[in-house]
């Protein structure tokens, strides 16, 4: 068993200290150490996007980042999207029935947030291109794309 290292990071806006082994991925740390099980393991090699999180605002697959790499950095997971109310993306995913089994949904929400922060007025093609790293097997993507476009419109109206 390898020795654990103490790490300080900001997780969903909260200063957090945790112990993890150098070999543990950020996904493992989130799920097993911090009990934030919103990020899912679908492939553990960066192909499905179910574990998407933001690291200092940049979209990453948390299965491809080591837990110790978050030292001094900021991580946003699906658990950090809502405040007192749902994020517009979360609300639009519900209203547009953009999830069926829902296991890919946390990754899609985080990736969509990254997209809208970069491009508040995306076309359908922009959405499809940006979300091509997130696999969904239930919906055929139709309602996901519509939900993201609807959330973008709502957020532009609020801005």
């Amino acid at each position: 068993m390898s020795r654990k290292i103490s790490v300080s990071a900001t997780i969903n806006g909260q200063e957090t200290e945790f112990l993890c082994e150098p070999r543990q991925s950020l996904l493992e740390v989130l799920r097993d150490v911090l009990s934030l099980t919103g990020a899912k393991e679908g492939c553990n090699n960066g192909n499905c996007g179910a574990c998407s999180v933001l690291l200092d605002g940049v979209l990453v697959n948390s299965c491809l980042v080591l837990g110790v790499e978050t030292q001094g950095r900021s991580v946003t997971t699906v658990e950090g999207l809502a405040g007192d109310e749902l994020h517009p993306l979360q609300q639009q995913f519900l209203e547009n029935a953009a999830l069926q089994c829902g296991v890919c949904t946390p990754g899609f929400l985080v990736a969509s947030k990254a997209l809208l922060e970069k491009n508040p007025n995306p076309t359908e093609h922009d959405v499809r291109f940006f979300l091509a790293g997130n696999l969904c097997r239930c919906t055929g993507y139709d309602k996901i794309v519509k939900a993201v476009l609807a959330a973008a419109e709502e957020m532009r109206a609020q801005a």
């Binding site: 899912k40 553990n44 749902l86 209203e95 499809r128 790293g133 097997r137």
Partner: protein
């Protein structure tokens, strides 16, 4: 009897009750469970597709600090040789047990050899490397036609062919040969004016759910087993665990967690009995097992590769007079491919008086084939729909007119036996014929030289009804706590709560649904066969009717009248000039007889087959052979859409899976039977960028056997896409495809470029 009143809830689009948990990350899927003292396990899998296991030495692994238990085939009792219906097919417990844990032979790349539980996952992984296994490697049989040859190596020495009901005498890879016969097919072909005969081969594909299999189990000191897992069928799983581990049925409790997709692939157990056996050996501590994606692809699912020959003949007017199909499906390492279902699908949409189907279930060194959304249907329909379009072309008939002319209708007898009840296939053809898509010109290619084609295809699926149970409690605030037992894999709690709310005249929000487990609610068949909104919906309706009877008794008690004197209109109970709402009455239960709880268990009947017709525009890059889907419209008879958004979602998802199967998904094996593309990079499922919006047309012809007219909707949409794409390719570049997937290499080959 179908309810004909105007609906208040059915047909609306409320937000699903489990929605907020699923968009905030709070929903607990199988792999998310944590228990006191939880151990983590990993599984050692065969690196060979076919081998004799000479010896296994686990001593070094057992000595590694942190390892709590190691199990092999020696830890598994011999299971009974009984075969029962479970999930969407037949399950033989002996083979099921051998699939869960190998005994003396490794039968596919990824077959389980041993399992370990340790204090953490990394220790378990380290310990796996310390297990020494000696194999005698054997040649692998990995192709259905090769496996059927007389001189082929036999995979299962004990197997004898079930040849039209008679047991064979020789060792073989052909588990069974079945036949359907109708009329005089030879004479009908001799008299036919136009005949088309074509051969097809299709590859192995996977269900591709995003959540890998998982199973957590506690084998308690009192002899009971509890599992927490992602399953489409808690009660089938309970039976399987009971049989494989020789534990009495009621001593097993299966708690279904939220499930991350299944599509038929989570009807049978893999990990749960291993986790339980590890738990017992580790001093009755709970053990969690989860599969990596490579394990999912190597050892779960997939669905069958197949070889088929289809021959159809018409009279000079285009009426189909004869049909013949020869179908061979790979079962994987144990008998039980979905070829029987494929044989029902292949000519399902058509009417004729003479037909024959010969169908074969064939063993190869691949993982045991499992159900996948309309099991066996997509590849079967692919073959038939290409042949039907070829016939139409030879006759100079429009493909939709060809289907209208020959489409099955009420009273027609299928070649596999049943006579159709009130089906609505022709309505789906008409829907496409009058659709905006079909009446628009084909889009222009994205660059000069590329070709655009339009194709149509139809599909049939049988649908299931089955057994369901549920219970409900009336709360004093007028809300109803509703416990149902069918796995909710994509919005079921919403569609069932809607049916209950509609029945008792409440608002959708007044129903508080949740999923039960095998200990808390009555028996439920699998969420499979497109049955849950149908069968469990029927139970929701019966439950509502029972609640109304109880509420009538309470109102009668308040007013000192007989229950039958109490009239009920929606949520208002009245007698003479007295009236009370459901909510008010719920607040007065204690003064009118006490609390109300009801439960219903039913063996539901009356599911009807359903049909889909779809049109696609495909762009073919003639230099590379790459296909791009430009536009897609799917029409489907849905009976009645309880929650239209989720019905559309089922259609869109089924079409997307069908397009993946049509265009790029396939298992790639080397000659020794090693799976070469066991990752989601190399097993290429459609991404958001690969697909257009998928337009849906919901054709609502209510099922007269269901209180709200429901027909199963989940499976049939995956049936037509491969045929539609093939027909569009033909329209674009003039070649008839005969292989799945229609990837760039296969398209260029068909075009004669490669």
């Amino acid at each position: 009897m179908v309810e004909t009143k105007e609906f208040k809830v059915v047909g609306t689009r409320p937000i699903r009750p489990d929605g907020i948990d699923k968009v905030t990350g709070r929903a607990q899927y199988g792999a998310d469970i944590k228990l006191q003292g939880l151990l983590y396990g990993k599984v050692l899998r065969s690196p060979h597709a076919h081998a004799r296991i000479v010896s296994i030495d686990t001593s070094a692994a057992e000595k590694l600090p942190g390892v709590k238990a190691v199990i092999t085939g020696r830890d598994f009792p011999a299971a009974s040789n009984e075969t029962v219906h479970a999930g969407e097919g037949m399950v033989n417990f002996s083979y099921l047990s051998e699939n869960i844990m190998a005994q003396t032979r490794a039968l596919y790349h990824g077959h389980v050899i041993a399992a370990i539980a340790a204090v953490d996952i990394h220790t378990a992984e380290e310990a796996l490397k310390l297990i020494k296994v000696e194999y005698e490697v054997l040649p692998a049989v990995i192709d259905v036609l090769q496996a059927m040859r007389e001189d082929s190596l036999v995979v299962l020495n004990e197997l004898r062919t079930d040849e039209l009901g008679e047991k064979g005498t020789k060792p073989t890879n052909i588990a069974s040969h079945g036949r359907h016969d109708l009329g005089d097919v030879d004479k009908a072909f001799a008299d036919a004016a136009v005949i088309v005969e074509r051969e097809f081969v299709t590859g192995t594909v996977h269900q591709g759910y995003i959540e890998p299999q998982n199973g957590t189990a506690l084998w308690s000191m009192d002899g009971s087993i509890t599992t927490w897992t992602s399953t489409q069928s808690a009660w089938d799983e309970r039976r399987e665990i009971s049989e494989v581990l020789k534990v009495p049925l009621a001593m097993v409790r299966v708690i279904p967690m939220e499930i991350g997709g299944g599509f038929g692939g989570k009807l049978n157990v893999y990990l749960e009995p291993l986790a339980a056996a590890l738990s017992r050996k580790a001093g009755h501590q709970p053990v969690k097992l989860t599969m990596g994606r490579d394990e999912v692809l190597k050892a779960t699912g997939p669905t069958s590769a197949s070889a088929m020959r289809v021959k159809m003949g018409t009279d000079k007017n285009g009426k189909i007079v004869a049909a013949y199909a020869w179908m061979a499906y790979e079962a994987g390492a144990f008998p039980g491919s979905p070829v029987g279902a494929g044989a029902a699908v292949i000519f399902g949409p058509y009417r004729f008086e003479n037909a024959r189907i010969d169908y074969y279930d064939v063993i190869v060194n691949k993982p045991k084939a499992q159900a996948y959304r309309a099991p066996g249907g997509t590849n079967a329909a692919y073959a038939a729909e290409v042949v039907v379009n070829d016939l139409a072309a030879k006759l100079g008939i429009d493909p939709l007119e060809m289907r209208l002319l020959n489409g099955a209708r009420k009273g027609d007898r299928r070649v596999d036996g049943p006579t159709y009840g009130p089906i609505a296939y022709l309505e789906t053809i008409e829907a496409i014929k009058s659709s905006a898509h079909y009446n628009s010109p084909k889009p222009a290619p994205s660059r000069p030289g590329n070709k655009v084609g339009r194709g149509v295809a139809s599909g049939y699926w049988g649908n299931w009804d089955g057994r369901s149970s549920a219970s409900a409690v009336i709360n004093s605030d007028g809300r109803v706590s509703y416990l149902e037992g069918s796995t909710d894999i994509g919005g079921l709690r919403a569609s069932l709560a809607m049916q209950l709310a509609e029945t008792i005249g409440l608002n959708y929000e007044d129903i508080r649904p949740m999923m039960g487990d095998t200990q808390t609610v009555g028996f439920n068949d699998a969420t499979g066969g497109s049955r849950s909104t149908y069968g469990s919906g029927m139970v929701a309706h019966a439950l509502g009717k029972k609640i109304i009877v109880e509420m009538q008794k309470h109102a009668a008690s308040l007013w000192d009248v007989q229950p039958e004197q109490v009239n009920v209109v929606r949520d208002v109970y009245s007698c003479g000039d007295k009236s009370i709402t459901f909510k008010e009455l719920a607040g007065r239960l204690d003064e009118s007889g006490g609390p109300i709880s009801v439960s219903v268990s039913m063996d539901t009947k009356g599911a009807l087959p359903t049909f889909a017709t779809q049109v696609v525009d495909i762009e073919v890059d003639v230099e590379t052979g790459k296909l791009q889907v430009l536009r897609y419209t799917a029409a489907q008879d849905v009976g009645r859409a309880i929650h239209p958004s989720y019905v559309e979602g089922q259609i869109q998802g089924g079409v997307a899976q069908g397009l993946g199967w049509a265009m790029h998904e396939e298992y790639v094996y080397d000659k020794d039977g090693h799976l070469m593309n066991a990752s989601l990079l190399d097993y290429r499922m459609p991404t958001a960028l690969d697909l257009p919006m998928i337009e849906t047309i919901l054709v609502e012809v209510p099922n007269p056997n269901h209180p709200f007219g429901v027909k199963g909707v989940g499976e049939v949409p995956i049936v037509p896409p491969a045929g539609a794409v093939a027909n569009a390719i033909c329209d674009a570049v003039g070649v008839r495809m005969n292989v799945l997937p229609m990837n760039p290499r296969n398209v260029l080959k068909a075009m004669g470029v490669l």
